[in-house]
Each structure stands twice: as structure tokens, then as C-alpha cells.
Amino acid sequence: MNTEDQATVLRHVQHVARHFSALRCSGEKLIELLRFDIGHAAPEADALSNFLRKEDTQKLLEAEYETALWISCDHVKSWRLICLATPTELQNATARLQLRPPSGDSCSWCWQAERGHIDGILFPELNLRGEPIDSRLLHRACMRPWKLMRNLVERGGV
């Protein structure tokens, strides 16, 4: 896959992530969704799968495209595609910070449940004093937008 195709794929991964907010599905399903989103010029499923499995691709998505992509350790080895775009208005951020996921084993940002296997997967949010806040648990990738919202609300939106 050349550089231009890679950039196209990354943009479409970002678009699909933004559409679903937090997607949890099989690898085949994700590839199908991506190929549909890209359209005619979509690369082959194998090439796409290889490209998305690369660590560099996942790091680039997280660093520059506000998207987290990883293969989880659950029993079906599902793929997770999470949008890391943060609400930037104070009211939206405040409301989002107050929402709690239905289960104590879920990430507070993406609400995906880890069903008891949280060690090494979900981490507590710590305040400035190093104390856990509100029993909030987050994936490593989800910490970034969540902390940004927390900082935004702490500073009163400025």
C-alpha cells in the first residue's frame, strides 16, 4: 500500500471511528465497514488487515488522528475502534464527566465493559494529589480525551 493509500485509509478509519464513537466487533466486520466507507478505491481486505495490525499504524492513529485501535484480550479477540475527539464546550464536557457507565468494569470514556478482567487493561483516574477520582476506570488510550475534559472543566473552559 503506497503512502497516499495509507493516508486515505487512516482518514477513513478516523471517519468510521467518529461515526460509531466506540466500536467493538470482529476484525472481518471492521474491515468490511472500512472498505464500504472507502468505496471503489478500497484496498484488498488482506492488505487492509495487515496495515491495521501494525503497531506503527495504531500509534499514528492515536497520535494524529484522534482514534484508538487495538485488538482486545477478551475471549473472542474483538477489535476496538474508539474515537478520541473531545467535546470542547464546557457544558458538554461537564455533562460527559458526570455520566457513569452501567458497570463498574467499564471504561468511563468509551463505556466498553471488560467484564472483570480489568488488571492491566483499565486504570484508575488519579487527581493532582494522586488519589483515585470517583472510582473511574479508563483504557490507556481513553485517558487522553478524558483528562483533557477534566482539565477543561477545572479551568472553567479557558
Binding site: R11, R18, E66, A85, T88, N151, R155, V158
Partner: protein, 162 residues
């Protein structure tokens, strides 16, 4: 005999003698002074940092020479202070450094006034992604960015804002 280079009426300046430090004057900083970390509640201004009343409850834990690293709870500033004198109910604090921390520019309120950043989706040909527009007339200032920070940087770099 060598000519005396110093003329009459002038004397060579005397090198001031100074008593050298004794070994007991120097020890590890950690053995003598404490470095404290303080989280300052919201609403405490720069001028209030050195007020004795602010430190009246914890003053008895402080000693002369202690350093205080102050972080505002709302992340608005970072300061370094030196304890000159402290005891029960009072503290004499000297402000060494005060750093006002930058605003979160990615916030909607942190943008330059009159501009808005939005995500246009993937429209191909670099038209989509994060775009910045001028609110008054809807003119697109910049487009096709992958994230909000890049779009903001491009907006701030654009000719009309420089």
C-alpha cells in the same frame, strides 16, 4: 635593583581576606531543607501566595529554607516559594518564581474570537477533516487537518491572524 613600578602615593590594592567555610556549613540539601509540594485551591491569586494567613494552619511544619512547589488546582499557574520564617500560626514566604500556565487553546472558548473549528468528515481531496471558519461570513480559513490541534495551529498561522 629593579625599578619600583608602583609610584609614590599609590599602594597596591589589598586582596580582601575571607574566612573559608567550615565543613559543617555544607551538607546534603535533603538533610537540611524540605521540598514541599502544595496544591493551591482555586481563587488564590499570585499576591495572596505570600500572605501569612494562607499558611497559618500548616506554618508549624515549615522551616526556614524550605522550598514550596505550588501547583494551582485549576492548572492556571505554577509557582516556587521560599520559606523565610515560619512557626505556629504564621509564615513569612518569599515568591521566587511564578509561571502563568497557557490556556487550553483547543477549547471552544480558547479559540481566537470569531472563529470556529468543526469536523467536516471525509470528503476526499483534502476537503474534509478538521476545518476552521470565520463565523461572521462563513469563509473557510483552513481545512483538511487530521486533528484539532493541527487545525488550530494552521488557523493561528494564517495571514489574517499573524
Amino acid at each position: 635593583m629593579a625599578k619600583n613600578e608602583v609610584s609614590e602615593g599609590q599602594q597596591a590594592p589589598a586582596v580582601p581576606s575571607i574566612k573559608p567555610l567550615t565543613r559543617s556549613a555544607m551538607t546534603f540539601a535533603d538533610a537540611r531543607f524540605v521540598q514541599w509540594s502544595v496544591i493551591m485551591p482555586r481563587g488564590v491569586s499570585k499576591e495572596q501566595l505570600t500572605l501569612s494567613g494562607l499558611w497559618s494552619v500548616i506554618g508549624d511544619q515549615l522551616h526556614t529554607g524550605d522550598r514550596l512547589t505550588v501547583m494551582a488546582e485549576d492548572r492556571s499557574y505554577y509557582a516556587e516559594c521560599l520559606v523565610l520564617d515560619a512557626g505556629r500560626g504564621f509564615a513569612n514566604i518569599h515568591l521566587l518564581n511564578y509561571y502563568h500556565l497557557p490556556a487550553l487553546l483547543v477549547a471552544q472558548e480558547g479559540l481566537p474570537p470569531g472563529f470556529e473549528i468543526f469536523f467536516a468528515g471525509d470528503l476526499g481531496n483534502g476537503d474534509g477533516g478538521y476545518c476552521a471558519k470565520r463565523v461572521c461570513d462563513g469563509v473557510l480559513m483552513t481545512k483538511g487537518h487530521n486533528n484539532r490541534e493541527a487545525c488550530l495551529a494552521a488557523l493561528l498561522e494564517s495571514a489574517t491572524l499573524r
